[in-house]
Amino acid sequence: MSDKNSNKNSKKTINKEPNKEPNKEPIKKHITGPTNIGILSLINYQFPIQAIVSILHRISGVILFIFIPIVLWAFDNSLYSHKTFHTVINVFNNGGVEFVIWFFASMLIWHMCAGIKHLIMDLGHFETKTSSRIASYMCIAIAAALIALLGVWIW
């Protein structure tokens, strides 16, 4: 029944078409899919805190990935012999290297905090506009406190 009705309707519209005056120039081009915005328009764009937490999670992940060979080198030497173990310890006690370790561990703490927030959100929490903002600020606060404590531990 419904098919027949739709057929009738479509026939009616087809019959009506020739009576309509065709538009000479279309006013607006119909957009059929997602379009990109200009990259420069992002400069003045105020990103929501959730977006900032999300992109920093991604950036910290890439930084941690880059550190893997260095960590494996340290792991290798720390277990090879008594001598190489102390070489690693001496390298780590260098002032500049201490900062690098602090930076690496900070990225790790941040990636874990934002990741745990992500897992909690997967369970269906913090999904409203307000609660997700609160969760993002909490994530920043907890990570900042842990990174500060890490600094106390290292220095």
């Binding site: 992940g61 890439v62 494996l72 290798d76 277990l79 008594h82 874990m112 897992l119 531990w153």
Partner: protein, 119 residues
């Protein structure tokens, strides 16, 4: 359904699940190492000794845990790097070349880890 040959499981839902399962394994192991270092560097034992560190990784359960951690880490990185590269590298040739090179890297990391543990 859209399938991708270069992603870990060829399925978005499975990638999503493995990303989270591997994250839990990686986080648990990292927290353990962190607590181990914290306990052994704070208080009376001011510096971690080679004997303590070597002793920890001399135990079979720790070796197995480390290999499980490394496999979970590689799973996590594989999915993560795949997601990042498919978002930003639009040229298929460059993207697939990078993914291929990274995949060889993951294999080297795993072999390296096993060779460190069973030396």
């Amino acid at each position: 359904m859209v399938k991708s040959i270069s992603s870990l499981t060829n399925s978005g839902v499975h990638d999503w699940l493995w990303q989270r399962l591997s994250a839990i394994v990686v986080a648990a192991y990292t927290l353990f190492i962190f607590l181990f270092l914290l306990i052994n560097t704070l208080g009376s034992a001011n510096n971690l000794s080679y004997a303590t560190w070597h002793g920890l990784f001399g135990m079979l359960w720790m070796k197995i845990a480390t290999v499980i951690f490394m496999v979970a880490l590689i799973v996590h990185i594989w999915i993560g790097i795949w997601t990042v590269l498919t978002d930003y590298v639009h040229c298929a040739f460059i993207r697939n070349t990078l993914l291929f090179l990274f995949n060889i890297g993951y294999l080297i990391y795993l072999i390296w880890t096993i060779s460190i543990l069973w030396r």
